[in-house]
Assembly symmetry: C2
Homo-oligomer: 333 residues x 2
Amino acid sequence: MAVTLKQICEEAGVSKATVSRVLNNHPLVSKETREKVQEVIQRLKFTPNALARNLSLRRTDTIGVLFPWIFNGFFSTLLRGVDSAASELNYHVITSLSHDAGDENAMASRLLKERRIDGLILMAPSLPADQIEELKSIDVPLVVLQREIADPEVNSVSVDNFDGGLKATAHLIERGCRRILAIAGPQGSLDSDRREAGYREALKQADIAFDPDLLIRSNFNKETAFTSFENFRRRFAMPDAIFCFNDEIALGMLKYLKTIGVRVPEDVALIGFDGIEFTEFAELSTLTMPMQEMGRQAVRLLIKQIECKEKRTAEQLLLKGAVVERNSTRRRS
Amino acid sequence: MAVTLKQICEEAGVSKATVSRVLNNHPLVSKETREKVQEVIQRLKFTPNALARNLSLRRTDTIGVLFPWIFNGFFSTLLRGVDSAASELNYHVITSLSHDAGDENAMASRLLKERRIDGLILMAPSLPADQIEELKSIDVPLVVLQREIADPEVNSVSVDNFDGGLKATAHLIERGCRRILAIAGPQGSLDSDRREAGYREALKQADIAFDPDLLIRSNFNKETAFTSFENFRRRFAMPDAIFCFNDEIALGMLKYLKTIGVRVPEDVALIGFDGIEFTEFAELSTLTMPMQEMGRQAVRLLIKQIECKEKRTAEQLLLKGAVVERNSTRRRS
DNA sequence: CTGAAAGCGCTTACAG
DNA sequence: CTGAAAGCGCTTACAG
């Protein structure tokens, strides 16, 4: 079997307490004994059992990350940020992909209640607000990622949607576009609302009147976006530019426009939002979120909470994205 | 604090042993006491502490997954398969992304030696064979994913590279191509060698002589592929078709050919290998691996090993991929 | 600076 | 069918 602390203390002729102190760099150990013990540890290739240690310490050095079932390059980049920050801070990461829409909470709270994790990062863009409240009530460190939350008591890190909407729109305006169609998300999505506010602000700054006909809605996927767009076209002329509130819609539109013989960017400029990998290949301009950094910040926030239980003042970080300019908004020559 | 087993047994007026038996559905508990205990468990909302349980049981119900640092949609799909299979079998998944090339082993063996995981899935396409041997020597359940392994004692699940190379090539031959350039991986890559063998077999079946000039090498990335390809072009005419041994190369070539005015598929047909998400958008035909299924099978294999320690007969699964036909190999009309 | 002892929260032979 | 007791492998006041 594996070497245990007990074998070390017997071999070194000291008590378990002493070995434990050496292991944890406790200052009150004489240099001699410390060295003697260390020698034995090395010789016997001892690695402490984390389970036992954690049971005593009542913590696990592990954080849970709850993903939506459908996750793409976008989420993997986020995960990369989470994992790298966690490992720098000596934490492990347990992932949990929710399988159907409903069981997100069940999985998360099981992990939490079984004490397998010290805290949770929630990456659930479409999780209803009341379920977030429910998890919050378990009273364990929690950070919501990639989603602006209205409740000020919930820690979150998200892209600054207002700023992003503003930048994307301003970028199009700079290119000379004035009739800018926005394909927004659904009613009630805070993310969409903030992007919309940014869109309006950019128009205002450029002295362009907001035209409600130029704001259509989707469910953040291409199917619903197409329906809305076809509807729009039956009634109105083609706009100068289209600002899609996420990349999936933008990529869909890129193909769709090609199909119906509309050239991008010559006839209409197109910009997305998110910055998924795909966009690079598709040469789609997009407002790129700092995904890896968002993952890293989420971990920092979470571990901060885990390690100082007292002051539970929630923070809500908004990280700024940047427009990555590609062919779809190239200046027309 | 959290409710513990002790509180349950006091409240129910039985011993800890009895509560434990109820928890684990041990048959030797009378119906009455079982019901009484269950009632208390429900009332006090007791969830057993997994740490304590695992320490007693000397296992963790957790498997580790070691990813390469650069991971894309391809690996996330694999992870999805791993996570879903694991959760069906009541296991948790700890991920560990290696940060620089060297520390893969260190991270994995730490997880293992600290007893945080019961077994490991290794997703390290480029990990040197000797490092795999090293991990193998820790003598803990291990499955290597997405990589054919020569050592018959190592469990692995991989795509059937020979079959894939054969199918991809046969697909091109069916399209009327005869001079088929293969952009292979590096010397010594078993994956590449197997794909090459499939390529040759397909040629043979079609009575096309193998031409060594039509097999060039890359390092499985586009930069090295370009260099090889330019080299090739200086000496030879454009082939009928190009079979790229992975999608990254194929996507790179797709753009590159466009740049130099070669039309796909009119002038040259193009097929990739892997089936990453990107290819769909790019309309690239590719030999698609059953990635999610590979992840699932890896978990099954691993858990099988974990749960019956006796018969350590290694299995090496080869799952078959399929050609997904898209525009890049469309029949010329 | 060091050790004996209790504790973390479960499980499981062993008796009865 | 049930309980007392030892054990899983660590940590940490408390004494000295």
